[in-house]
Symmetry: C2
Subunit: 268 residues, 2 copies
């Protein structure tokens, strides 16, 4: 597993600057921010739920590739020096009994409700957007400065203990001539969702209207472009809802935790 | 994650036949048995220890690549149809308070002591021995019909909860001219330990005498051959000992669980 020991010589100024801005209260979707640094989904659960969740992630690795797990009660991570997981994500969601209770920019108060919270940081498809753009593939939600569209599918994840739920996917419109390239490039990053789970045919995933994503923003789809779907790290939030988990803290979709780890470290 | 649903059309006769022989009482090291089918290390722990272990595996993925985790109380696995994890391994070890209490060919009685055991199946380097042999690299312990030599190193694994311990490695002597090939071929199988962790210089790993492995058998090393070390799925047994785990069932080193999954399924 990657940690900071292997990355002593990386200049992490941009990643640290972004975390500091979010700690100070800035709110924005993080796609395109601190390019080249890996961003992570986050879910924080009481210790009693930690095994179920780690097993859920292990059984659904394309949706939930685990990058780090904190020790119970800790709000530090080996993926970012000096980070405070309670404050360094731009926008948090607090969940109670599977229902979104509130969105906050600082989760310190909610975090104090439980002494034994375990934080899971999960790979994010933003990691392979930089190499896709370098290959000349337009990433629509970055070009249009919006959040990536995410959809709740009809595909059940493999359950684990008390946790069950359906797969969430992110979507990027890709020109038909570049779909194979997009699959190949993202496939080189298995730790951050890897290759697409589905290309075209959104109705097969139970998506009736690409214009109405469950999370994030709808994006332009031009003539000759195909919707390409990747497993998404919002899948744990769907499990929190479906399984009525008593208490959880997550990032808000698209508002990720920015690590000190270069994207290239996750290249297979 | 790979499971039987994806492998409906594979002829699993050889794998099933091996498991049936072991269920009937046969005892042998499994290297070279049912070639082409993935073999797995096993560790079985009470539910109370399951999170610590799954986290230990997640933090030490080269040594502990998890292939499947059973539900608490179950002795089935998605990796082998009709298998009984209590009986289908050729030789088991029963551990009490971190000490090897006994070796048995049938773990049914020990299994019955705890109602909530969780079984972890962990990748085994035997998986990449077949492609290495196909590339013309001699696998010494197969040629000489012995067990692979395994050594307890001086390298601490990253701890998790109550679990800590040092890395165990397997060793294969490789001609100097084929070391790069061996690294490349095994590196294509990241789910089953992947590329070597160390090449040559056993003293750097704290191995004083290659002729005295902690587990398995010593093997011939010919002139011009270099000892090559891979992370080994016996590492959990070292953690059981070091951490004085109250109760555990494992396979005996080299006596693996044979799955229905073709080795090629774990090719990256």
């Amino acid at each position: 597993m990657i940690d900071l020991d292997t990355l002593r010589h990386v200049d992490t100024t941009d990643a640290r600057a972004a975390r500091e801005r979010y700690r100070a209260g800035a709110v924005e979707p993080t796609s395109g921010v601190a390019p080249g640094f890996t961003q992570a989904n986050m879910i924080v659960l009481p210790r009693d739920w930690a095994f179920d969740f780690l097993l859920y992630a292990q059984r659904n690795p394309k949706a939930c590739p685990v990058l780090d797990v904190s020790d119970p009660g800790s709000h530090a991570t080996v993926l970012a020096k000096g980070a405070d997981l309670r404050r360094d994500v731009p926008l948090y969601r607090i969940w109670r009994d599977g229902v979104l209770a509130e969105e906050v920019t600082d989760a310190t108060a909610a975090w104090a409700e439980h002494p034994d919270l375990v934080s899971f940081l999960i790979g994010c498809s933003f990691t392979f957007e930089t190499p896709m753009m370098e290959a000349g593939i337009d990433i629509r939600h970055i070009t249009d400065k919006s959040n990536v569209p995410m959809y709740l599918t009809n595909r059940a994840c493999r359950p684990a203990g008390r946790l069950h739920g359906n797969l969430v996917v992110s979507m990027r419109p890709i020109p038909a001539s570049r779909v194979a390239d997009a699959a190949t490039i993202s496939g080189r990053f298995p730790a951050v969702h890897g290759a697409p789970v589905h290309v075209g045919a959104p109705e097969e995933l139970g998506i009736a209207d690409l214009g109405k994503p469950e999370f994030g923003d709808a994006v332009r789809i031009e003539a000759g472009e195909v919707p390409v779907f990747w497993a998404c790290g919002v899948t744990p939030q769907a499990a929190v809802m479906a399984s009525k988990v008593p208490f959880a803290i997550t990032h808000a979709p698209g508002h990720m935790f920015i690590t000190d780890i270069p994207d290239s470290a996750y290249h297979a």
